[in-house]
Assembly symmetry: C2
Homo-oligomer: 209 residues x 2
Amino acid sequence: MNAQPIPSPAVRRLSLYLRHLEQLAAEGVKSVASNELAESLNVTAAQVRKDLGYFGQFGRPGVGYRVRVLIEELRRILGTDRTVNVILVGAGDLGRALLRYKGFRRKGFNLVAAFDVAPGKIGRAVGTVNVHNVSELPSIVRRHKVKLAVLAVPAEVAQETADMLAAAGIRGILNFAPATLHTDADLAVAPVDLAAHLEELSFRIGHHL
Amino acid sequence: MNAQPIPSPAVRRLSLYLRHLEQLAAEGVKSVASNELAESLNVTAAQVRKDLGYFGQFGRPGVGYRVRVLIEELRRILGTDRTVNVILVGAGDLGRALLRYKGFRRKGFNLVAAFDVAPGKIGRAVGTVNVHNVSELPSIVRRHKVKLAVLAVPAEVAQETADMLAAAGIRGILNFAPATLHTDADLAVAPVDLAAHLEELSFRIGHHL
DNA sequence: CCCTGTGAACCTGTTCACAGCG
DNA sequence: CGCTGTGAACAGGTTCACAGGG
């Protein structure tokens, strides 16, 4: 019934709204208006309303949005109303740090296992999970019905690793490798290039502004 | 002479182009056409040409772009043709991993020091730098003329830390804290919300597509 | 003839502004 | 009367398409 002309920037802002709503809930705030939310997040009130409007009608005219209700709706929309299993591939420095990062769990993501090819890393525990040989990846992915993977391998092997993940049934990759992945349309990729963000800042401060 | 109506997505793609060009250079490739570059990076050829066109005329009709030349131009534009000093604040798990991450150095960024408030962390070395008390931050920033900071502190103290950085003369913040920073227009912020990217993937695979 | 550089057309996403509900 | 929900107007970016240079 509903087509899907949802701007992807709007989807990304949903996480932003959710994050702030969770904080408001922790502070005991019961309801919030679009302009308050907007102000805290450096967006416009119309944008908040429009973004939420793509998914339903969650607010009450004259009142605003019920914080608890909106949090639940957003989690449902994002698919994090249930625990989402995730694996991590590449237990180098960055990979091991991500394994210890508590932010994922707080948001409903459960790291079930890590993988690497280096014998020195395999068998060790990092954070709450063990590092396995990549050969075990397909069976573990199947067993835990994992759909998302965090990719933290060197750029040189990023593409082949992504292909392997696709073959194992992974549907989404959070890619920290500084490489562009070429994948089928049914495999979603979110690239995170840490150095690129610093370059952007370097540009912005180096010139005008 | 040139106004500055440069789309910020275009600036972000510059890093992408640079990354691929560096790889081509390593492979010994001398020149490249916009459509080849485009194909490797999942963008259109027109986009590549238009993006580069905002900054000058770097190509040769009938030939393409000289790889070495374009790399130098892009580094100059991004400001990474010289070493750029960076500090890191917050030596938690994520912070320490970023200190060890080699990708920054490879791109011309030099981490000169890390800072924290926890006595247990201060005085230790992580990667190539030492962890200092934040009280030493202003003097170190001044001494090394640091303009960029990586912020990896807990969300609760992100804003106050950002204010402190602004006061110390920092001009750009790479923000890993899951909090929206409110800063003056002359302080650039690049937010990196790791959990948000996973949520986006969760959304994309949970629905259509 | 190949490939760049670029105005013009197009399109996606943002902001405006107001009708309508509580 | 306050605040949402939303069509309509607007703006920013992307793609097209072609003129022009090597």
